[in-house]
């Protein structure tokens, strides 16, 4: 009989008549379905069904007129995908450029936000620290503001004569005109120019080796700083929850044994923080591949397409260029990229199945971190 945890325990412990059981079970089954019904309907209609429809659009030639399954819409196989992935023409090159841009964004933002949030968590976790609340508040506040508001602020701070350049000016540094500057920073370090002729041939997605090696543009760097600024607080809280779960005791024990600060950090909590580091890296990667709001609000892909991201390109292809098949294909390719990156991360870090072992508090903290990144409006981060 019912041995699963939950209400059935009533039935095994309380000596009630059998018919009563059956009635209770039926009642519970009915209530169970009734309770999940709104969720199933909403998620089914607005998440599951849309994905199926978009999958169809991505292999069809719908132009945005009439219903996508109307008689004038026909199956075109992998044409849209070929157009995106083939590297031919503007569509192919734009996709390649967007992948290049977003890849640098991911590679820089993810490690930096993880390192910074871990550092912040360690700094504000000390029990004896005075003004703990103030510091935590200061670091977390950017995480609750919308990405639209932060982007507006960023456009101002990083304008040609803006606060950042004024600050750099105090040290006699002439800052760039950030959001107007398409130069890649690796190109800048290498001294600019067109690069060796050998690197000019398109190698992947219609982009040449030299272009792949451009690095993030100066404009993209401003977005990279913004991402770090706005997410470090959320991840700091997640690390704090983990640190509190581990307890300060272990660290204090190590201190009495005469371990120095680095050893204390390196050998005691870090191995125990592994599952949380894994979570932050995963959430970070999934989130950074979906940059949209900032680009929509701030640059619309410019200057010279150096802040174009696949998410924005997908929107632009569909809603602006009315090329719905291509837009949907880009979205699915992006989905694939995110899945591949998550799998690679899982293989490299080898922390599968952490959900089973982590404590309930940490599981909640992770869900909340996930939800609050979503709540910024900066693309849903879901893992």
């Amino acid at each position: 009989m019912a041995t699963t945890p939950g209400l059935e325990r009533t039935e095994t412990s309380a000596p009630t008549p059998r018919s009563h059981h059956a009635r209770l079970n039926r009642q519970q089954a009915g209530a169970g379905w009734l309770f999940v019904l709104p969720m199933v309907v909403v998620l089914g209609i607005f998440l599951f069904l849309p994905v199926v429809m978009a999958a169809w659009v991505s292999v069809a030639d719908w132009t945005g007129r009439g219903a996508p399954w109307g008689s004038n819409v026909s199956f075109v196989g992998g044409t849209n995908y070929a157009q995106v992935l083939g590297g031919q023409g503007l569509a192919g090159r734009d996709f390649g450029t967007s992948i290049r841009n977003n890849l640098y964004y991911v590679i820089l933002v993810v490690p930096l936000q993880t390192a910074l949030s871990l550092t912040l968590a360690f700094l504000v976790n000390k029990r004896a620290l005075k003004g703990k609340g103030f510091y935590r508040t200061a670091f977390y506040f950017p995480s609750v503001t919308s990405s639209v508001a932060i982007t507006v602020l960023w456009l101002f701070l990083f304008s040609a004569s803006g606060a950042i350049n004024a600050f750099l000016g105090l040290f006699a540094i002439t800052g760039p005109n950030w959001f107007q500057d398409p130069r890649g920073i690796i190109h800048l370090i290498l001294g600019g120019g067109d690069g060796p002729a050998a690197l000019q041939q398109p190698v992947l997605f219609g982009i040449s080796t030299w272009e792949w090696l451009a690095g993030p543009s100066v404009a993209m760097c401003a977005f990279i700083l913004m991402a770090i600024f706005t997410t470090s607080g959320t991840f700091m809280l997640l690390f704090l929850a983990a640190l509190q779960a581990i307890g300060e005791e272990t660290e204090e024990a190590a201190m009495v044994d005469g371990a120095n600060a680095w050893q204390r950090f390196r050998y005691v909590p870090l191995p125990m923080l592994r599952p949380t580091v894994f979570t932050v890296l995963t959430l970070g990667t999934i989130g950074t591949w979906q940059v949209f709001d900032q680009i929509y609000t701030g640059t619309r892909g410019g200057p010279a397409k150096t802040t174009l991201t696949p998410a924005y390109l997908s929107y632009d292809a569909a809603f602006v260029s009315q090329d719905w098949g291509r837009g949907a294909a880009i979205a699915f390719v992006l989905f694939g990229i995110i899945v591949i990156f998550t799998i690679i991360q899982r293989l490299v870090l080898g922390t599968g199945g952490i959900d089973r072992t982590t404590r309930r508090e940490l599981r909640s903290a992770r869900l909340i971190a996930q939800a609050s990144i979503q709540a910024k409006g900066g693309g849903d981060v879901q893992a």
Partner: protein, 286 residues
């Protein structure tokens, strides 16, 4: 002999470490706070002064011109109304639906429960931006494009919220519910008058996250509406940012708009600071 020695050394290092920790923390805190101070300060400057002396927190000629222009020349009031309507309805609906579903998955046995759970996990793994085009397609075919239902209905449930509530319900002892059920209370009554009142901490977490989430939402409104009458703050301010009030860079106006739209989430944040800062958000029964 060597024992107290090491202890003292450790103590000294600790002291020095402390001072440097405060210096580092304070410097970092300044970096995090300063942008917001600059934002507010510059929203009260003239266009010219903001452009040329953006770093200064002080101005000799404070002016509220930016705020006046914002309200006179844009639909800022309308945007705020729309954001408010959507946020209140979404938050109310979400709290109810998410806790119902969470309770069902945590406590009730019903055929197909495992299937529902798996669907939820699958749904959570779909990245949000992938859904931009798909959501538009469905909203359009349901005939709710460019309407409040189209803006609100798709946001009524979020999978993370269901998991947060499920997690919470699993952490509260089942004994109370058992007692109520033996007394003959129905499932809904048990849920409504016994379980929910015990769940205030988790419900608050959901309210905060839903409020913040729907207030800050942008991309869903981009794909579900086009009429100016349904523009929300995020969409409206984003259009300001790309220069729809034209003439000059208009930094003070944009900063004023961004500052104003931050106020509601800032209030929520400061009121519920203690709860938010406790990372597990009280979402687990202690």
């Amino acid at each position: 002999m060597s024992r107290p020695d090491t202890a003292r050394h450790a103590g000294e290092r600790h002291g020095v470490g402390h001072a440097s920790v405060y210096i580092v923390l304070t410097a970092l805190a300044l970096v995090y706070i300063f942008p917001f101070l600059i934002q507010v300060a510059n929203s009260f400057k003239t266009d010219e002064e903001a452009t040329n002396a953006g770093l200064a927190l002080w101005s000799a000629n404070w002016t509220t011109a930016a705020y006046k222009t914002l309200f006179a020349n844009s639909d800022f009031g309308l945007w705020t109304m729309n954001s408010l309507i959507v946020t209140v309805l979404v938050t109310t609906g979400r709290v109810f639906f998410v806790s119902l579903a969470g309770y069902s998955l945590a406590r009730l046995r019903f055929p197909g429960r495992q299937g529902v759970y798996l669907m939820l996990v699958a749904v959570m793994s779909v990245p949000g931006v992938v859904l931009l085009i798909p959501k538009f397609l469905v909203i359009k075919s349901l005939g709710i494009y460019d309407s409040y239902p189209g803006m609100i209905l798709p946001l009524l449930v979020d999978a993370a919220g269901v998991f947060i509530m499920k997690n919470f319900f699993e952490s509260i002892p089942v004994a109370v519910e058992e007692a109520a059920r033996i007394d003959g209370a129905g499932t809904f009554r048990t849920f409504w008058s016994i379980v929910l009142p015990m769940s205030r901490p988790a419900l608050m977490t959901i309210i905060i996250l839903s409020f913040q989430g729907s207030w800050n939402e942008l991309n869903h409104f981009i794909v579900s509406t086009q009429s100016p009458a349904l523009t929300t703050l995020t969409k409206g301010v984003a259009s300001l940012a790309s220069g729809q009030l034209s003439a000059g860079n208009q930094f003070p106006i944009k900063l004023a708009a961004a500052a104003l739209m931050t106020i509601p989430v800032a209030i929520i944040f400061f009121v519920f600071q203690k709860r938010i800062m406790n990372a597990s958000g009280g979402a687990v029964k202690e």
